[in-house]
C-alpha cells in the first residue's frame, strides 16, 4: 500500500513536471467540467437557459455510463454577466477545483477576458455563443458552438435576400455598443461590396426611450431594406414605433440583427408586431431543423425550463449547450482520452453530429460554413406563447439547405 502511494505521487509529480497534469487527473473520480455562467445580470436570461441545455446533456451522458466510463460533474459559478469576474473564476476552476475540461460562459463579453489565459495555458475551450472572440487571440483549441461562421454571415444572408427581392438601397441602424457597431460596419462593407447604396446610417445610444423620430427619418430615406442591429429593449421600441408610425411602402426587408426577438418573453409580449420581420436565429421548430435527438432534447428541456423559470421554449441557446457536450463526448470517445490536444485535433478535423445538425469547424474555431438562419415571422397572434412551438411561425429563408418558404414582401404587406 505504502509503496503504491509513493509510486502514484511520483507519477503525479513527474506528470506535472512534464506539463501533463490534466490527463493524469482524468484517471480519477468524475470528469469535472468547469464554467462560469451569467446567472444574474443582463445576460442571465440567456445564461440560465444555456445552462439547462448543458445539464440535460450531463444527465443524458451519465445515464449512458458517463464520459470514458466516468460520471460527468459540472462545476458552475455565476459571473454576474461581468467581464471582470471571469478571469478569476476560470483561474479558480483550474487551480482549485482542478477541472478536466472547460466550457465558456454564454456570450461575448464574459468570454473575451479568458481567451488570453486559455491560450497561455494551452487549454481546450468550448465556446458558448460568443462572437469573434478568437479573431485576434488566434487560439488553436477554441471551438464555438454558435452557428455564426464567418463574421459577415449575418449581413451577407440578409443583404442577399434583399437583393433577390429587388432591393438596391439599404438603411443601417444600430445601438451604440461594440457588438452592434461591429455588425453594422460589416453590413456596410458587404452592402458596398455588392453595390447596394447606403441611404441612411444611424447609431443610437443604448438608453434611447422613444424611437418614433428615428422611424420617421428612416421612412423619409425611402430605403429598400433596413438592417437593424438592436438590443432587446430597442428591438421592442423600434417595432412598436413602426407599428404606430409606419415604415413606408419602399421597404422590402426589415430586421437582420435584432437581439431579443429570439427570446420567449419578448416574442410573447410583441405578438403580432413581429409579423414580417426577417431576423437572424439559431434553431427553429421547422421540419428542416429536426436532427437525431432534437425532439427528445426539447421534451426534457421544456420540462426543466418550467421548474427553473427560464425561457420556456429555449430554441435559441439551450440546444447549442447540449451540442457543446455532444461534441466533447464524440471527441473523447473517438480519442479515448481527455487530453486537450487530442480532443482539439479531433474537433478540428471531423464533422460532429449534434441535435442542431452537423458541425464542421474552420481553422479559427468558428463554423466553417455559417448555419445562421434568416427567418421571417408570419401569422403571429398576440398573447400566445404556444403558437411558437409549431412550424410555420418563423419561415426559414436562408440558408438554402434549410429553407422552408419564400420571402413575403414588401414589409408593410408582410406585417398584415
Amino acid at each position: 500500500m505504502g509503496s503504491g502511494r509513493i509510486h502514484r505521487r511520483t507519477a503525479v509529480a513527474g506528470a506535472l513536471a512534464a506539463g501533463l497534469a490534466l490527463p493524469v487527473r482524468a484517471q480519477q473520480g468524475p470528469v469535472k467540467i468547469g464554467m462560469s455562467m451569467p446567472l444574474t445580470g443582463g445576460l442571465a436570461a440567456g445564461g440560465k437557459s444555456a445552462l439547462v441545455g448543458i445539464e440535460v446533456w450531463r444527465d443524458d451522458v451519465n445515464e449512458k455510463g458517463g464520459l470514458l466510463g466516468r460520471k460527468v460533474e459540472l462545476i458552475v459559478y455565476d459571473d454576474k454577466s461581468s467581464a471582470a469576474e471571469t478571469p478569476a473564476i476560470y483561474s479558480k476552476l483550474l487551480d482549485v477545483d482542478k477541472v478536466d475540461l472547460l466550457f465558456a460562459p454564454y456570450a461575448t463579453v464574459p468570454t473575451a477576458p479568458i481567451m488570453p489565459m486559455v491560450k497561455q495555458r494551452d487549454l481546450l475551450l468550448m465556446g458558448n455563443f460568443s462572437f469573434q472572440v478568437n479573431r485576434t487571440v488566434k487560439h488553436d483549441k477554441w471551438f464555438n458552438n454558435a452557428p455564426w461562421g464567418p463574421a459577415d454571415s449575418w449581413a451577407r444572408g440578409f443583404i442577399d435576400l434583399g437583393m433577390k427581392a429587388g432591393a438596391k438601397t439599404i438603411a443601417l441602424i444600430g445601438a451604440d455598443q461594440e457588438f452592434a457597431q461591429n455588425l453594422m460596419k460589416i453590413a456596410k462593407d458587404v452592402a458596398t461590396e455588392k453595390g447596394v447604396k447606403v441611404v441612411y446610417e444611424q447609431s443610437y445610444p443604448p438608453a434611447t426611450a422613444e424611437f418614433s423620430a428615428m422611424v420617421r427619418a428612416i421612412r423619409a430615406a425611402r430605403a429598400d431594406m433596413v438592417f437593424v442591429c438592436s438590443y432587446p429593449p430597442d428591438s421592442v421600441g423600434l417595432l412598436r414605433a413602426i407599428n404606430e408610425i409606419g415604415i413606408g411602402d419602399s421597404v422590402r426587408l426589415f430586421g437582420g440583427g435584432m437581439v431579443g426577438l429570439q427570446f420567449s418573453s419578448v416574442m410573447e409580449s410583441m405578438g403580432s408586431l413581429l409579423n414580417g420581420v426577417v431576423n437572424y436565429n439559431s434553431w427553429l421548430p421547422e421540419k428542416s431543423m429536426e436532427f437525431a435527438g432534437t425532439k427528445d432534447f426539447f421534451v426534457k428541456y421544456q420540462k426543466r425550463a418550467g421548474e427553473a423559470k427560464v425561457d420556456p421554449l429555449g430554441y435559441y441557446l439551450a440546444p447549442f449547450g447540449y451540442a457543446m457536450g455532444q461534441m466533447v463526448e464524440q471527441a473523447a470517445n473517438a480519442t479515448k482520452s481527455l487530453d486537450h490536444k487530442k480532443l482539439a485535433d479531433f474537433l478540428r478535423s471531423n464533422e460532429m453530429m449534434t441535435i442542431v445538425g452537423p458541425i464542421v469547424f474552420g481553422p479559427d474555431g468558428e463554423r466553417k460554413e455559417s448555419a445562421t438562419l434568416m427567418a421571417q415571422f408570419r401569422g403571429v397572434v398576440d398573447k400566445n406563447i404556444e403558437q411558437f412551438r409549431n412550424p410555420g411561425k418563423q419561415i426559414i429563408l436562408f440558408p438554402e439547405k434549410w429553407k422552408t418558404g419564400e420571402l413575403v414582401q414588401p414589409f408593410e404587406k408582410a406585417r398584415k
Binding site: 444574474t40 445580470g41 443582463g42 442571465a44 436570461a45 451604440d176 441612411y200 444611424q202 447609431s203 443610437y204 445610444p205 443604448p206 438608453a207 434611447t208 426611450a209 422613444e210 418614433s212 423620430a213 428615428m214 420617421r216 427619418a217 423619409a220 430615406a221 432587446p232 429593449p233 421592442v236 421600441g237 412598436r240 414605433a241 407599428n243 404606430e244 408610425i245 409606419g246 431579443g260 427570446f263 418573453s265 419578448v266 409580449s269 410583441m270 408586431l273 423559470k309 398576440d382 398573447k383
Partner: protein, 290 residues
C-alpha cells in the same frame, strides 16, 4: 438630412416626449425640489411602480388604473422611507445630504436587485387599447401611448399646482420648503409636513411608473437611464416649480428629438446636460426658480 416636414414631426413628437419626461420627473420635483431630500432612488421607485402595473395587468387592469391603484401603497412607502431617512440621517446633522445620498442609493440598489430576484431580468410590457395604435393629426401620425403620457402629464401638473397653491397642506409644504424654522415657530410640525409631502411625491411616482411601462418596455436596471434625465428636468425647471417641470420637460424633449432626427441619435443624451449647464450658467436658480 434636413426637411421642414421632419422638423415639424420632431417638434410635435418632442412636445409629447417632453411631457412624458415631466410626468416621470414631477415626483422628484417635490421630494428634491421642495423638500431638499436627495432622492436618487426616484427612478428605481419609478421602475418598481412599472412592475406593479405589469403585475396588475395579469388581472386585465388597465395600466393607468393600475397606476392609480398603486398610489396609496406608494404613499405609505414614501412616508416610511422619509421617516427612516429623517430618523437615521436628516436629524443628525449638517452632512445629512451626503449621507442621505448613500441611503437613497442603497434603496435604489435594493429595489433593483429585489426586482431581479422576484421577476428575473426579462423586460416586461403591458397591453392596453392605446398601445401600438396611432392617431393622425395634420398629416402626422402620433403614437397613442405618447398622447396618453402627454394628457397624464398635464393633469398631474395641474393637480399638483392646484394642490400646492389652494390647499392648506399644499401651502404648508411650500412653506416648509421656504423657511422650516419660521413654520416651527408658528406651531406646525415641519417633519410631519415633509413626511406627508414625500408620501405624495412617491404616490405620484406610482402613476408615472405606469406611464413608463406604457411608453416603453421596462427591465430592472432601466432606472439608470432615467436618473440623469429626471434630475436635469427638475434642476433646469428651478427647484420645486411644478409648471416649470412641465416646461423644462418639453424643452428637453423637443431639443432631444430635433437633435435625434436631424443631427444624429448619438448626440441626443448630451442634450440634457448641455441644456442644464447653459441654464445653470445663465440662470442658476433654474428657468422658473425664484
Amino acid at each position: 438630412m434636413f426637411s421642414w416636414e421632419l422638423l415639424g414631426d420632431a417638434i410635435v413628437l418632442g412636445v409629447l416626449v417632453g411631457c412624458f419626461y415631466a410626468a416621470v420627473s414631477i415626483g422628484l420635483s417635490i421630494s428634491f425640489g421642495l423638500l431638499d431630500v436627495p432622492n436618487v432612488a426616484h427612478p428605481a421607485l419609478l421602475v418598481l411602480a412599472s412592475y406593479g402595473a405589469w403585475l396588475l395587468g395579469d388581472f386585465d387592469i388597465d395600466p393607468i388604473v393600475a397606476g392609480l391603484l398603486l398610489m396609496p401603497p406608494f404613499f405609505v412607502l414614501g412616508v416610511v422611507l422619509y421617516r427612516t431617512y429623517h430618523e437615521t440621517f436628516e436629524k443628525r446633522g449638517s452632512d445629512a445630504g451626503v449621507r442621505g445620498l448613500a441611503f437613497f442609493f442603497g434603496i435604489a440598489f435594493i429595489i433593483e436587485v429585489g426586482i431581479i430576484m422576484a421577476f428575473g431580468v426579462d423586460q416586461r410590457t403591458v397591453q392596453a387599447i392605446y398601445i401600438g395604435k396611432s392617431v393622425e393629426v395634420l398629416d402626422i401620425r402620433i403614437p397613442m401611448r405618447m398622447v396618453v403620457a402627454f394628457a397624464m402629464a398635464l393633469l398631474l401638473t395641474l393637480a399638483l399646482t392646484l394642490y400646492l397653491s389652494r390647499t392648506f397642506l399644499g401651502r404648508a409644504i411650500r412653506a416648509v420648503a421656504q423657511d422650516e424654522a419660521a413654520l416651527r415657530l408658528m406651531g406646525a410640525d415641519p417633519i410631519a409636513i415633509k413626511q406627508w409631502a414625500f408620501g405624495i411625491a412617491t404616490a405620484v411616482v406610482a402613476l408615472a411608473g405606469a406611464l413608463l411601462i406604457i411608453v416603453q418596455p421596462v427591465e430592472p436596471t432601466l432606472d439608470r437611464a432615467y436618473i440623469g434625465r429626471t434630475f436635469c428636468v427638475v434642476v433646469m425647471a428651478g427647484l420645486g416649480s411644478m409648471s416649470g417641470t412641465l416646461l423644462a420637460g418639453i424643452i428637453l424633449g423637443v431639443a432631444e428629438t430635433i437633435v435625434l432626427t436631424l443631427f444624429g441619435a448619438s448626440w441626443a443624451p448630451a442634450i440634457s446636460f448641455t441644456l442644464l449647464l447653459i441654464v445653470l450658467g445663465v440662470r442658476p436658480q433654474g428657468l422658473f426658480g425664484r
